[in-house]
């Protein structure tokens, strides 16, 4: 379970590294669903290359593909990205909250030192 989850997140991050794949996701975010040829249109790469990118996105769970007659419709599947974002947010919350308390602690220590200095100790 742990490893399964870990590999899933790795696949999501690895999929997002490529600018073409991010562009594909951005387009799918605008349109509810697109055929593969419509998706491939704006890119200066051949259809097989687009198919490869779609495989990577599909393996990461970021898109779903469904066949309708002779065309394949591609749709966005946002849940894995939400998980990836939750994961980052947990770290952000950890440090943000820890640094708030660090600030309070250090400023109190500073005030104490300043007070002692004022008393000439």
């Amino acid at each position: 379970m742990v490893n399964h989850q870990s590999h899933e997140l790795d696949r999501v991050f690895a999929a997002l590294v490529d600018p073409t794949r991010r562009a594909i996701l951005a387009r799918l975010e605008q349109e509810e669903s697109l055929s593969i040829s419509a998706l491939a249109e704006p890119f200066a790469i051949k259809l097989p290359a687009v198919m490869k990118h779609l495989d990577v996105l599909g393996d990461a769970g970021l898109i779903t593909r469904s066949k309708h007659g002779r065309t394949v419709d591609v749709r966005l599947s946002p849940a894995p990205l939400r998980e990836a974002m939750d994961w980052l947010h947990r770290y952000e919350r950890f440090w943000s909250s820890a640094l708030d308390r660090l600030t309070i602690y250090a400023e109190a220590a500073e005030a104490e030192v300043a007070e002692r200095g004022a008393k000439g100790e």
Binding site: D10, F13, M85, E92, F94, S97, L99, Y105
Partner: protein, 151 residues
Amino acid sequence: MTSLTLVRRIAARPSIVFDALSTPQGVAAWWGPDDLPVLLAEIDARVGGAFRVRFQTLDGLQHEACGEYLEVVPPRRLVMSWRYAFGGEPEEEGRTSRIEIDLIPVASGTELTLTHAQLRNEASKASHEHGWTGSLAKLVQRFANLSSTQA
């Protein structure tokens, strides 16, 4: 965004902030995501020295983070490795990341910059190669909006 950077201005001189970061008493006062007492803080802040901090979260779980000091330059810089001995993010099992803290003196006290880097090896390697972190953050934000409206 597989490294996380936070900047804070603290109204205390760098030496005081550095002590708060590098002594057991100091670390026990702030470590962890929730406002709960730290259960254990072992800090040996010299190069090659170890730290071990056990803390709890509001969900009742205990966590233990540990690592080694890689750079100790009082009162300016502290670098350490970090991993969870237990209670970490399940996706981070067995992984080591890196924490860098820099302290710069400013008129009001200290500017602290904390970077938690190498959170995911694969992705952080890629971020250096492609500079994709900003666009990923934006993309992720858009997906967040999308998935919450679909939920």
